[in-house]
């Protein structure tokens, strides 16, 4: 169903993506000093520096540089990594799927568990499950995910040895889905914890708010069983406010993937970014950040569309 809201929302993505490219370009162009020297090191010959400057288009004005960069980008040319000696797009292509897989699983996990616990906490407000959940949420939002990852490795990977902490095979042709799944349990949990805690809090508040609305009283006045009142009448309305936050949580999860991939040696873009930053592989950083930002924009687009499908008032607006 392609209605006018979705169409408008799709059009709106063009300026956002444009803005994203501008910012990525500007941040990297504002590197103090000469990026060419930074790439080649202090002892580079002037000729080599000039060559790199030309390769990077640094001898043009800033808007022209941006134009050239954008045109290349649209053709799939993200430049070459001077450290890895291969096109940036190739390196990113190899690492995009693992990152999206890990972040996607963590997002789904945190959403499902977070919303369920939030509903339980709201429906059984002030009971002991509510209190346990509230404390868990406080600990969850206060825990650094990278530390949680280390603890999970220590307990479940080393002490109890229930799950592997490294040595994942290629998904296709290697160990298959099961091998990947076993390696993903711990990182996905570590990544999902914080986002999940935020969603528990949000869901609990939204449910308590919605349960006070007049239409919930109407649903009860109709004699509907409480289960239906909670899930069909209250929860659906609470979900309208929760979905955009899930979109924002995607940002947490994609960003947090940088830590988790580093801790768990996950072959994704996050870990690539960290090493690219220490080797000052500017173009690789630029490409990686851009790709993740685009993924984030798309997830938020999907969240907005899902919200509009749920709420007819948004479709009409």
């Amino acid at each position: 169903m392609l209605n006018s809201y979705i169409l408008r929302r799709l059009l709106l993505i063009v300026p956002v993506l444009f803005g994203v490219t501008v910012i990525v370009f500007l941040v990297i162009s504002l590197v103090p000093g000469d990026p060419a020297k930074a790439i080649l090191g202090t002892f580079a010959t002037p000729d080599a520096v000039a060559q790199v400057r030309h390769d990077l288009g640094l001898d043009e004005s800033l808007p022209v540089q941006y134009g050239i960069w954008l045109v290349n980008l649209l053709q799939g040319d993200f430049g070459r990594s001077y450290i890895l000696h291969k096109p940036v797009i190739v390196e990113i292509g190899a690492r995009l799927f693992p990152t999206l897989l890990l972040a996607g699983v963590a997002l789904v996990l945190s959403s499902v568990v977070g919303i369920l616990l939030g509903i339980i906490a709201a429906v059984r407000q002030n009971s002991w499950p509510d209190k346990v959940i509230t404390v868990a949420v406080l600990v969850g939002i206060s825990t650094p995910s990278f530390w949680l990852g280390i603890l999970l490795i220590f307990w479940f990977g080393v002490r109890l040895a229930w799950l592997p902490v490294g040595g994942m095979q290629e998904m296709f042709g290697g160990g298959g889905v099961l091998d990947v799944a076993r390696h993903m349990v711990l990182p996905a949990c570590a990544l999902a914890a914080v986002a999940g805690a935020v969603l528990v809090r949000l869901t609990r508040g939204a449910m308590l708010e919605v349960m006070r609305q007049d239409y919930v009283r109407t649903a009860r006045a109709k004699g509907l069983p409480e289960r239906r009142v909670i899930f069909v009448h209250a929860f659906r309305n609470a979900l309208v406010g929760i979905i955009p936050v899930i979109g924002l949580e995607a940002g947490f999860v994609l960003g947090g993937a940088v830590y988790i991939e580093t801790v768990f040696q996950w072959p994704g873009i996050g870990r690539m970014l960290v090493s690219a930053i220490s080797t000052r592989d500017i173009l690789l950083v630029q490409g990686g950040v851009l790709v993740i930002a685009v993924a984030y924009v798309i997830i938020n687009l999907l969240a907005d569309i899902a919200q509009s499908l749920l709420d007819p008032r948004i479709r009409a607006a």
């Binding site: 590197v31 206060s142 007049d214 009860r220 069983p225 069909v232 960003g255 950083v285 950040v289």
Partner: protein, 630 residues
């Protein structure tokens, strides 16, 4: 009581927040004292004593991979993390607030440009943006802090802009402009104080994040550079030692956790104090039915039901109250009335008289908390609805007793097509297949004269007019041919011509189906037209009741008399309309005796001396007034 307690007292009263404050206080105290505490040098290595466990002599928390004292490094590291986190939060707040304030204050193109820029920044997962900035500036604690500041500016700019917009158009702002203050003076004296609480809340809720974020960058080796270490850096160094010396990574993690817990607790507490609207624990869940005292307590002193037990509805001695903090609001204080088959009973009174709470009490729909039925019973053919099993109550609700509520916009579920909302009631009580229930729902919508019902049944509540929505509400109430319809001011939210149509419709349909009606209204004229019997309510009690003609033509209670005097009569413009002086009583401080006495022009000393009983004016006409009782 001398007004509001101080913010500090409010903060420390809450045990959880006090715990957070104490936790944070101790940590801050320790790091402040770091220079004078007898600590070892955090950077002195001692490879001979490397990776010693906690409680090792001379090193309470053990040593790290090069033999440095972990306790000392921990305290100095915490100090660094706190300083960096706090600085980042304050700087981001200052810059973001400046942008937000000026953007909202000057508006126009500047506002549009600034906000589009902010939108672009927010299109990034912010850790990634921070990484890009660190990549550009190069690793290092200062650069990491700059990156964290930049990515948090949009949050403050957005929030402060929103807060400013809500005051920038207020009346006092216009007054300030007219009085000739300069822009800067207005911003400093009028705007800033209004948005400051929002900024404080913003800082208190983001400091924790900022500490976690800078720790994260240091953990990745992009923040603090060795040998200097903040908490994140220590964690990063301990990461690879997790198998041989787990304490090296565990201890700094625990400290980050405690720090963040303390900050989050205090932040939540601050938010509750500064912005009570957002108070997290302020909302209580409403229960499936109204709470009630034990049946013995409720029935104490009630006369035997007699004939009332055979009627479709008999409210007997009903007391419903709300407890909010230390205040008890006795919204309904002993209401009794009976509804015979097919009879139309009106409850009339000003707002706050307890008529709506009486209506909602019938099917246990008064919100609990804070509502509770403390005395009395609600008989439905002799069955006390206050304590029938939940399943039985649910069979009655929408089955034999149905409701039409006041505001049809808020009482219909905005996300469900109206036909489905009607069909749902039918399926619940008649056990019909979906298609059959849908056909019946459409037929009902036709019977309430909803145009093009077959198609419009698939529309949502917001797509109808107020009058149409209330027709849908009526269709929903009629769905299972109830014996009693409780209509709570069903037309108050509608305009006058629509009111008349909707009322006529409700009355015709309920007569066709021989349903009794409990009609709640503040409008005496409507009651006169619709009802057989009327009960006039004041201060939670029935003050006069009887056949509509008798009560309205020969009112016995001064309140009824004054109420009728307020009603304009069509075609009689000479008639003087006399508003009742004073206000209805607050139900948490009801006067002794007659609640109307303070406003009554006929009041005497005995009115306020003792409880006054309903006394007969004639065979079926009663009033609660000393002048009648005499």
């Amino acid at each position: 009581m001398s007004g509001r307690p101080s913010a500090w007292r409010l903060l420390t009263q809450n045990g959880v927040v006090a715990f957070g404050l104490a936790l944070l206080g101790v940590m801050v105290l320790i790091v402040l004292l770091a220079p004078v505490l007898p600590l070892l040098d955090p950077n002195v290595t001692d490879v001979a004593h490397r990776l010693k466990p906690p409680l090792y002599p001379g090193h309470w928390l053990g040593t790290d991979q090069v033999g440095r004292d972990i306790l000392s490094r921990l305290i100095w590291g915490t100090r660094l993390s706190l300083v960096v986190g706090l600085t980042a939060a304050l700087v981001a707040a200052a810059i973001g607030s400046a942008i937000g304030l000026s953007s909202a204050f000057y508006g126009g193109l500047a506002d549009t440009l600034l906000m589009r820029g902010i939108d672009m920044l927010m299109a990034f997962p912010y850790l990634l943006l921070a990484l890009a900035i660190v990549a550009a500036l190069g690793p290092g604690l200062f650069n990491a802090m700059m990156a964290i500041i930049v990515v948090n500016i949009p949050f403050f700019a957005r929030g402060v802009r929103g807060g400013t917009l809500s005051v920038v158009n207020a009346d006092f702002m216009a007054a300030a402009r007219l009085s000739g203050l300069s822009d800067w003076q207005i911003i400093a004296t009028e705007l800033f104080p209004n948005v400051l609480p929002g900024i404080v809340i913003g800082v208190s809720t983001t400091v924790g994040w900022m500490i976690l974020e800078t720790a994260g960058l240091s953990f990745l080796g992009l923040g603090a550079q060795p040998p200097q270490a903040d908490l994140g850096g220590m964690l990063g160094e301990g990461r690879n030692l997790i198998q041989v010396a787990p304490h090296v990574a565990t201890i700094p993690g625990i400290v980050i956790l405690l720090l963040a817990v303390g900050i989050n607790l205090v932040g939540d507490g601050l938010r509750d104090v500064l912005d009570p609207k957002l108070k997290s624990g302020g909302l209580a869940r409403t229960h499936a039915r109204t709470a009630a005292a034990s049946s013995e307590a409720r029935r104490a002193g009630l006369q035997p039901a007699g004939d009332a037990a055979r009627q479709p509805l008999a409210v007997r001695g009903l007391h419903t109250q709300f407890t909010v903090g230390r205040n008890v609001y006795k919204a309904v204080g002993g209401v009794s009335f009976t509804v015979k088959p097919g009879e139309a009973v009106g409850l009339v009174g000003e707002s706050g008289s307890g008529k709506t709470v009486t209506a909602l009490s019938i099917a246990g729909l008064v919100a609990t908390p804070p509502g509770k039925i403390t005395r009395g019973e609600i008989l439905h053919h002799g069955e006390d609805l206050v304590d029938v099993p939940m399943q039985r109550l649910q069979a009655v609700r929408g089955g034999t007793i149905a409701y039409v509520f006041q505001d049809p916009l808020t009482t219909l579920n905005p996300l469900i097509p109206v036909g489905e909302q009607v069909a749902e009631t039918i399926r619940r009580h008649q056990n019909l297949p979906r298609a059959e229930a849908w056909r019946k729902a459409v037929a009902l919508l036709e019977s309430v004269r909803l145009p093009d019902a077959a198609n419009r049944a698939r529309s949502y509540p917001h797509e109808f007019s107020g009058g149409q929505r209330q027709r849908i509400g009526i269709a929903m109430a009629l769905a299972n041919n109830p014996e009693v319809i409780v209509a709570d001011e069903p037309t108050t939210a509608l305009d006058v011509t629509t009111q008349a149509q909707v009322l006529a419709l409700l009355n015709d349909l309920r007569r066709e189906r021989n349903a009794a009606l409990v009609f709640i209204s503040h409008d005496v004229g409507v009651i006169a037209e619709l009802c057989d019997t009327v009960h006039v309510m004041y201060g939670g009690k029935v003050v006069e009741s009887g056949p509509v003609a008798a009560v309205l033509q020969t009112p016995a209670h001064p309140y009824t008399q004054r109420l009728l005097a307020c009603v304009p009569v069509l075609g009689n413009p000479e008639r003087k309309i006399e508003p009742i002086p004073g206000l209805p009583p607050a139900t948490n401080a009801l006067p002794e005796g007659c609640a109307f006495a303070p406003r009554c022009h006929l009041a005497e000393a005995r009115c306020s001396a003792a409880e006054i009983e309903l006394a007969p004016v004639s065979a079926d006409h009663f009033a609660r007034c000393v002048r009648v009782a005499a």
